[in-house]
Symmetry: C2
Subunit: 224 residues, 2 copies
DNA sequence: CATTGTGAATCCGTTCACAGCG
DNA sequence: CGCTGTGAACGGATTCACAATG
């Protein structure tokens, strides 16, 4: 029984961890409904997942189910939390208290256990010293490194204009952040020992545009 | 010379179109610098792309370069715009005038040609009738279908709370939207003939969490 | 006996290496 | 001659089909 204890496993694809996050959310829903056990077959039917894929994904981390029965939800939920590192509180700071930064920091889903958004940062003196709608303090943009360290933040979110993204990320890293999500439309170079993910909201419309174009007969029609 | 005229090509992966969007952005930068011609080799050096991949990606849509020389930037730029459907204006409406909706609608990068954000929608009577910082009118959330149609919007962005996401998307579709970006943390079922992409901001932290956990020695340590 | 866990088969995207061409 | 365009090799992820098993 190849039980793979936590932290001991081969590198896993991002697609897999993404699906496991989704699966965890489904388990929470089912748990809330009082369901105690679920099979991969039922997960497929109810949530549109692929049952074989669920099993393969889980297999990379160990054995979590009971043959002939399925998965006991509380067990799988807890094991998954462990696998995804969600069994441990993580302090988050958000650089940039514009609409995007505030949207993230105040979001019921974003700022919820095990994640805690401890501070926002902004360079606007009018904002510094105030707090977001849900009470997250807005600190001075010049204090990012110091405050990140003081708060013990492991995760930094970059929600500043493109021009400021580089220095902002550097300050987060200097303050000890080990993971960064960058929402500025500028891919940030890698920092040693820091997990960095760029999310370019700008490009989201481009993706849709292509799909629209692909479903159209034949636009303006360039003369031959 | 397998020139593939616009609209005539095999289905292409999302990864490819994403890279082409990125490439187009690079071409704009180079064009702004007055560079007239660029080779895939140079694109690799300067922007960290993969030259072979650039050529393969482009190959799926036709032949765009000059052998022995490289790509003439204005030509490739225009052809790419055509391929990605960016040579045609697209009206966008954003449902939800909360922080996220406002952040998107007012973003210099989001609301810029060929995309035009024509309206925001919200159910809050205090917001309806006002406008965003950059002057985009906020219309009544009950008018989504009608206004979407009246404005001729092809793209709808869902930036409302999870509970409202389903009906909101349905209203956008009813109004004629053919592509939807959903930012609510609820995957929306497919609508016939509508390109729908879910972007779950909530899961962005989960992804980082896994990376943090993977780089940690061995957390709380469950006793053996 | 239904369901998991998994080797084998398949699919798809990336990388390589070079023929073809301006 | 240099670079594009591309067939072939490669690798990783998904899907399939079934043996193992509580």
């Amino acid at each position: 029984m190849t039980v793979t204890p936590r932290g001991r496993h081969a590198p896993v694809s991002e697609a897999t961890t993404h699906r496991l996050s989704l699966l965890l959310r489904c388990l929470r829903i089912l748990d809330g409904e009082g369901v105690g056990t679920i099979s991969s077959r039922l997960l497929e039917e109810r949530f549109g997942m692929n049952s074989a894929q669920i099993r393969k994904d889980l297999a990379q981390f160990g054995e979590f189910g009971v043959r002939g029965v399925g998965y006991r939800i509380p067990v799988l939920r807890d094991r998954l939390r462990g696998v995804l590192g969600l069994d441990r509180a993580r302090i988050v700071v958000v650089a940039g208290a514009g609409n995007l930064g505030l949207a993230l920091a105040d979001s019921r889903n974003f700022n919820s256990p095990p994640f805690r958004v401890a501070a926002l940062f902004d360079v606007d003196p009018a904002k510094v010293g105030t707090a977001s709608r849900t009470g997250i303090p807005i600190l001075a943009g010049t204090d990012i490194a110091r405050q990140t360290q003081a708060l013990g933040a492991e995760i930094g979110v970059v929600a500043v204009p493109a021009e400021a993204a580089g220095p902002t990320a550097a300050a987060l890293v200097a303050g000890g952040a080990r993971a960064i999500r960058n929402f500025a439309p500028t891919p940030l170079g890698p920092f040693r020992g820091v997990a960095l993910k760029n999310v370019d909201l700008t490009l989201f419309l481009d993706g849709l545009s292509y799909l629209l174009a692909a479903s159209e007969p034949a636009p303006p029609a360039p003369e031959p």
